[in-house]
Point group: C2
Chain length 158, copies 2
């Protein structure tokens, strides 16, 4: 954020709020049991994806109704929230599965879990730095095109 010389941070345009759909997480009300379609609504993930997460061990087995249907609880939703965040960092699903396994193994994996999160944290910092770099490049190019549009087209830009 601080590396951007050009362009004050104007209020999000409509196009902007489009690009980031309003958080599909209106979240629970007071219950602790949700059907898969409710979780779809909360998380924005597809039912297929939710079932797939369970199959690959990214989620522990979900409670079932007497008819065998999945009933997600608030802890499951919390977990999905974390998974969503980790996904944003670009962490491979396999690594998230690893973390999930550590959680299932119990408290004696605290150290390993911490290490994993710390490593992820470093990655995130690195990605943020990269993005700031990129932002600087974009700002230079945008400035160029803005200049050029204002009349005197001069040097050529990629």
């Amino acid at each position: 954020m601080q590396t951007t010389p050009a362009a004050t941070e104007q209020a999000p345009t409509s196009a902007d709020s489009c690009s980031a759909p309003p958080p599909p997480h209106p979240r629970p009300d007071g219950r602790d049991s949700y059907t898969i379609s409710e979780v779809v609504a909360f998380t924005g993930l597809s039912a297929h994806t939710l079932r797939w997460y369970e199959r690959i061990g990214l989620m522990s087995h979900i409670d079932r109704s007497h008819t065998g249907q999945r009933r997600y609880n608030n802890r499951d939703l919390d977990w999905l929230g974390l998974v969503g965040k980790l996904r944003l960092t670009g962490m491979p699903v396999a690594d998230m599965v690893r973390y999930a396994e550590l959680v299932r193994e119990g408290e004696n994996t605290y150290d390993e879990r911490r290490d994993l999160l710390v490593a992820t944290r470093h990655d995130v910092l690195a990605r943020i730095a990269e993005l700031h770099d990129t932002l600087a490049v974009l700002d230079r190019k945008i400035a160029f095109y803005t200049e050029a549009g204002h009349g005197h087209a001069a040097e050529r830009a990629g």
Copy 2:
């Protein structure tokens, strides 16, 4: 960077410097013609990828030696630098190809190019914000595990 209460920024561990290979861009010396393998060394991309970029129109046709081998020039390297940055933003290759086409079409596409870059800039800001969010989550969890490791394991964390 500013959202991190826990964990002082210790010197990168060896594992860390591994995860981010030192910039594979020692860049040119004084020439303006490079073989594909030199470009591989500069960019860290594979020769396969470089040829593929050309095939799909992400790079304009590269000069050839009298024997038909590719000879990249400094402008090509600059372009690859930009492509590398855009790639970091998660921009799809197809969009980059679109931008490349605009560049090839000439100066009358300045406005459209600018629009595209501005849109990308918004995306980048959004991603940075997401990553800061994620960082906050990671820091909370890391703090929890650090606490817990120091003796009193209490509440349970995901």
